[in-house]
Symmetry: C2
DNA sequence: AAGTTTGTACAGTTTAAACTGTACGTATAA
DNA sequence: TTATACGTACAGTTTAAACTGTACAAACTT
């Protein structure tokens, strides 16, 4: 089956990174996270680059995004100049939190955009369309905004659990 | 503010399609769904193509994916040769159901892949790594599989609500 | 003070996804 | 039976995302 440890960890990286791509990570970010997770000791950008066959610049961009999502932590070690990073290990908590936050933020932002359109539509007094058309558009906007409310509630409830 | 109805519906399409892209739709699929949603009568591929400025082939591919996700319904009308499609209108139900199903399916699939790796690792009897290394890998696999179980439960619970 | 290391901004290249146009098989209309 | 319409497979093109390599500023080492 498996001939060595590297083969096993590579297989795990391939499979687990597929899972966490679903949390809106790029393939490179997903593989980097998985590699850090399986590698107990913190890694430098150069080590990440060498391990994953990507440029240092690509690793810098990926690790920054992972850090912004609170999926990895920068580690300070005395006498070491290079930045060190390690994966956060409470997988369910960190991924679901990050994901729920992203959904709530984005949903709220979109709801506000639609609410703005709705406000502007209500303030129309020029005869640019019939009353029926205006009522229809208002109905659609209300439905769309209600949809956002429901999505927001769904993810807010998930956060409590 | 708005000068005509088309301007309003275009603005709504832009904003709402951003929301539903989050359900793993491509920008073209999201715009198509939103257009169908706002357009009460069912549309043909040619009408979709003309309305959204994309080729008929692109519309064929997009509408097929939306139908596969149960987000739109093909409508049969006597004496009409062209396929007709309309958006399903219970937004929360159709999007959340589609999304939860996708998560449960994908998570289950990945869990099985990792379980297969785990099974193979357990069957290792050749000395390809130390006992400590083997124990560590087994621990990681258990954690990753447990993570999948938790994600699956999370989305299964969402389905009940 | 000078040299080296480090991470990242930036510009250009590559890759993968999305697209278009054509060809084709099937179904319908004439 | 023949012609036309229709949706989609397929091949090639375009676009957007991801990448690499270089340059640079800041920090550290010598």
């Amino acid at each position: 089956m498996f001939e060595n440890k590297t083969e096993i960890t590579n297989k795990i990286i391939v499979e687990f990174s597929k899972t966490i791509e679903m949390f809106d990570l790029t393939p490179a970010e997903a593989r980097l996270f998985t590699y850090l997770y399986l590698e107990e000791k913190p890694l430098t950008l150069d080590e990440m680059s060498e391990a994953l066959g990507k440029s240092k610049t690509a690793m810098s961009n990926s690790i920054r995004n992972l850090a912004n999502l609170n999926l990895v932590t920068r580690v300070w070690k005395r006498g070491v100049r290079k930045d060190l990073y390690k994966a956060n290990t409470q997988l369910f908590k960190i991924f679901v939190n990050s994901y729920i936050n992203k959904w709530i933020d984005a949903t709220n932002f979109q709801k506000m955009s639609l609410a703005e359109i709705h406000k502007n539509v209500k303030q129309i007094n020029k005869p640019i369309m019939s009353k029926e058309e205006l009522a229809t558009i208002n109905n659609y906007l209300e439905e769309l905004i209600e949809f956002h409310n429901e999505i927001e509630s769904l993810f807010t409830d998930m956060k409590q659990d």
